[in-house]
Subunit: 397 residues, 2 copies
């Protein structure tokens, strides 16, 4: 049988991270590749306890649920959103299988194949896969340590009339960068003036290493009704990824359309997970836990930085992240991080070549290092191996 | 802000079942509408016990998982599939958020907008929504109590050259019909000869009311490699819907493509749910449980049938289902079940008008009654209300 696959899926690149993870299976490999939270910090007892309580209301806990998600959990998330200046009702929220699904459904609901979407350069790999899967044209505005550069975005908007912007303004993936308040306001204005809707993806905003608050684009625009922004987030980094629960908030008309698309996509996400999270929020100090993991991740980041400084030549540079899970490294000019990776894997260390995060022509001398999943001697050894690979590779190339 | 929605989602009909469930909220409504399993039969203790054991291997249980799904569960499902004559390896299987997601991803992977898909007339409502969402043209072959009519299918194949067939050959939704062995073989041959891939959706196959075995189209075609069939099923009806775990099996090339699409769609489904199911299968007699619910459902079906026979005129007809969850009723000619529903809801009973299950021109005098979610006095009262509505409506119209 000759299987004929759709052109969309045929041209989809397999994730570099996944391919690397396959390479690294079974070896003594130190991986800075995946965006994995630290397992030893998962609130296992609280999750176990919450899971034991979901049947208190009877066996209905195992029945089909609403496409929009478990109502008590939506109410609890509404309260958490309000603290961040986002005032929404449960009708203005839908629960999804991680925030990844929210992005996928929003794209299905808001675009036609051939539409253009504006992103930051570089941007989240798996969002680029969504855009490719649904036939979007991607244009990428330049960015620096203060986030996307409005002038670059403006030029692209003029030339390409994008219908949407996709943005990770706070501790972006892969760069860890934060958009300044000024740029947030400027970009929002640009999108408003050009009738562009914004998908604001915020999986990392809670993982902060200092006290500065970064208001979401959503909160800058106002209440949910008529908001130019649909905001997405997730419990994957703050509680645990296995529970696969993300959410989107926005104008109720948008949320209703997302629900229609979600009905076709999977009827609804796991209500087991949603009920566990709801029970967990009833008793567990999630904000205390977020402070705890943020401190731990900051420590790991500083540790990685110090090893990088010790081991690498000053030609390798990065901006110290103020939150999130990633350190974005610029390697000496001319060095191809994809080639470097093959060499690094031989030495027992993995990372994600920066090229994966670009739509169009990539900066090849970039790499994303995750600092949350390793610590201490493992991080030290990983960085040493990486330094060895870079040294060898620089000589070779 | 004026939101511009994609043409696909704009033209998507909201599910009749959902709209009805909204109508029925808060009222003393007896619903034969939803395809809901009986809550009081859910294996709550076994699920609770299984959930308590998923952390035995440590906190890694809460980490990100493979897109293809939790490997031990895939191995367990492989064993269960083998008993049904489907011999596959874990590489030939992917776990999804219910079998609904498997259908959605298969369509994304195997079709381009504008492609034609062949279905049985009538067929599963939410699969029609998937086809609409992805721009497919649907052609529907006639069927009778022995399933799809090959001559009707052949004519459509000749005229429309469909790329795929979607089929629920065993206890179909909405009709509850079973395809005879002869028709299974004939349809498989037709699809093979016309280079059509088959999506065989089998959510109900385990819920059997007699001892006859119905081999899957997949098993009739042979092993997974080069199979013309991709088979999907789910634990939603046999264990519980809240755990949202379905699967697809097929040639590993198809499964790999589905995994690529799933990575963009949601990275992976809940591994909490998958681990709970895996632990459950380790200790719980699922086959014994399936026998138990099948017996209970058979009893409920017979009960509903006897009330229908008592209360309704002989102009209302149906074929006694041999399994599944639905009783498909033909009402007197000229009676519009959508109009009847509005009247029935006033009397406190709901069902799904058959028109929801048709691509193209529907048979308006049909209705789907679920018999698994009510029993005894509730079923009796529901049928009495339905009879009253039909009586009144027949007089009126």
């Amino acid at each position: 049988m000759e299987y004929r696959f759709s052109s969309k899926v045929s041209q989809l690149k397999s994730s570099a991270v996944r391919d690397i993870l396959k390479l690294t299976q079974g070896k003594d490999m130190i991986s800075f590749a995946g965006g994995l939270p630290a397992e030893e910090l998962f609130p296992v007892e609280a999750v176990r306890d919450a899971a034991s309580r979901i049947f208190e209301g009877g066996s209905g806990a195992l029945q089909y649920g609403l496409t929009e998600g478990y109502l008590p959990l939506r109410e609890q998330i509404c309260k958490r959103m309000a603290v961040k200046g986002m005032h929404v009702t449960p009708d203005e929220m839908i629960l999804t299988t991680g925030s990844q699904q929210a992005i996928d459904l929003l794209v299905q609901v808001l675009t036609e194949p051939g539409d253009t979407i504006l992103v930051e350069r570089p941007t989240y790999l798996a969002s680029l896969q969504v855009f490719a899967m649904h036939g979007l044209k991607v244009v990428a505005a330049e960015s620096d340590e203060n986030g996307i550069i409005p002038e670059s975005a403006e030029e692209l908007i003029r030339a390409h009339k994008p219908k949407l912007m996709y943005a990770v303004p706070t501790f972006g993936n892969p760069t860890g960068r934060v958009w300044s308040l000024e740029r947030r306001k400027r970009m929002l204005e640009l999108c408003r003036n050009n009738d562009m809707l914004v998908i604001e993806d915020d999986p990392y905003g809670d993982i902060k290493f200092d006290d500065e608050q970064f208001p979401s684009l959503f909160s800058l625009d106002g209440k949910a009704e008529n908001n130019h922004v649909v905001y997405t987030s997730t419990f994957s980094k703050t509680v645990a990824p296995a529970l696969r629960t993300g959410w989107a908030i926005g104008d109720s008309r948008v949320i209703r359309m997302v629900a229609k698309a979600k009905q076709a996509a999977d009827l609804h996400s796991s209500t087991m997970d949603q009920q566990v999270l709801s029970q967990l929020l009833n008793r567990f100090d999630l904000d205390g836990h977020i402070a705890l993991i943020s401190n731990a991740y900051k420590e790991r980041m500083l540790e990685m930085e110090s090893y990088l400084r010790q081991s690498l030549s000053p030609e390798v540079s990065w901006v110290t992240p103020r939150g999130g899970m990633f350190l974005w490294v610029e390697l000496p000019e001319g060095l191809d991080a994809e080639a470097l990776l093959r060499c690094a894997v031989q030495k027992g260390v993995a990372f994600v070549p920066g090229s994966s995060f670009y739509a169009g022509s990539p900066m090849r001398n970039t790499a994303r290092l995750n600092f949350t999943h390793n610590k201490g001697a493992r991080t030290e050894m990983g960085v040493a191996r990486l330094a060895e690979a870079i040294g060898e590779f620089t000589v070779r190339s």
